[in-house]
Amino acid sequence: MTNEATDVKLTVPLFDLVNDSGALTALLITKEGHAIAEAGDTSYLNTTAMAALIAGMFSATREVARMVGESQFSILLQQGSNRHIHISLVTDSVMMVVIFEDYQRIGRVRHEARKAGEKLMASLRTNESRVTAQVAGELCVPEFKEYALNLIDRIFTAK
């Protein structure tokens, strides 16, 4: 894989958001709990588990919203002692998560998150078909299945 092949349409707005807001990390997460793009420092974070938990939290919040007569809450804010999380909906099925440290910058984070969200919205609409086409160009499905089935048989063995 080359760097040129990286899907810049998703990462560039996230990098801009991190740089311009002074945030630590920005992630894009689907409502099914998968992380699809990230920017900033992720070395301290298990992004896979984070994506699953954030998606669960957002789903639960959506149900809560319905109970009070809202279709959903578009922004969630978690305030900690040192780190804080700003979560916003980009599309119906994708969330943007921003982790930041200086709570004084919440206004800036919110502003940059909104800007990034607007840029990401169009890319996300075509993202699935674009990704499938990119992957199809690199992956031979019959071979993939054969290798994957071998891995499954090797890893999920009774001991």
Binding site: T30, I36, A37, I152, A158
Partner: protein, 193 residues
């Protein structure tokens, strides 16, 4: 359909363990976690109550390995089994690529198995899946209990025939790896781009 990330060079499948309360869904995941080699597993996350009942879900990602530069990841979830967590169960099924139904073999629990199975079918339909044509394994757990329900009982009650069946004692790890292996194979067999 698995989640494919070109950005992260990753193909992620979602496996969900479904079934009535206390049937052994979390135990299945814990036993898989115990038996997997260290290099393929990460931490298992449980959102449970003080009584160790699953409150929202358990989550465990497993990295199978890399194929043509793409990491193959199986994200495994359990749903909370208790009747009043129906909304959570439905949400967790969203985006699932396959389901293990963990049935409780104790004779007094047939009705709960049937109810849970039917709800699972309804929930799958709500996501436009045909439950009769969806990767699935039926696990009869707790086979060591006295007068265990005969295999075939649940299939007759809910008219699901042809679903692969595994007999298990999850607390001892019996049948656990066979269950996940059978489901994983079904899921990969259906993979397409």
């Amino acid at each position: 359909m698995p989640h494919i990330s070109y950005e992260r060079r990753e193909i992620a499948f979602k496996l969900v363990y479904y079934g009535p309360g206390m049937s052994g869904k979390t135990t299945n995941l814990a036993q898989i976690h115990k038996r997997l080699a260290a290099e393929v597993k990460t931490e298992m996350i449980s959102l449970d109550t003080h009584e160790d009942r699953t409150l929202f879900f358990d989550f465990m990602p497993v990295e199978l390995g890399s194929i043509d530069g793409y990491m193959i990841r199986f994200n495994m979830y359990t749903v909370p089994g208790q009747v009043y967590y129906e909304a959570s169960r439905r949400l967790i099924l969203d985006g699932a690529d396959g389901v293990v139904f963990v049935a409780d073999s104790q004779p007094g629990r047939l009705e709960e198995n049937v109810l849970s199975y039917k709800r699972m079918e309804q929930n799958l339909r709500s996501y436009k899946h045909d439950p009769r044509n969806f990767p699935m394994v039926l696990q009869y757990n707790k086979r060591d209990c006295p007068s265990a329900l005969p295999v075939g009982t649940l299939e007759r009650e809910v008219s699901c025939h042809g679903v692969p069946v595994v007999e298990a004692v999850a607390t001892e790890g019996r049948g656990v790896m066979e269950t996940v292996r059978l489901l994983s194979r079904q899921i990969v067999e259906r993979f397409h781009l």
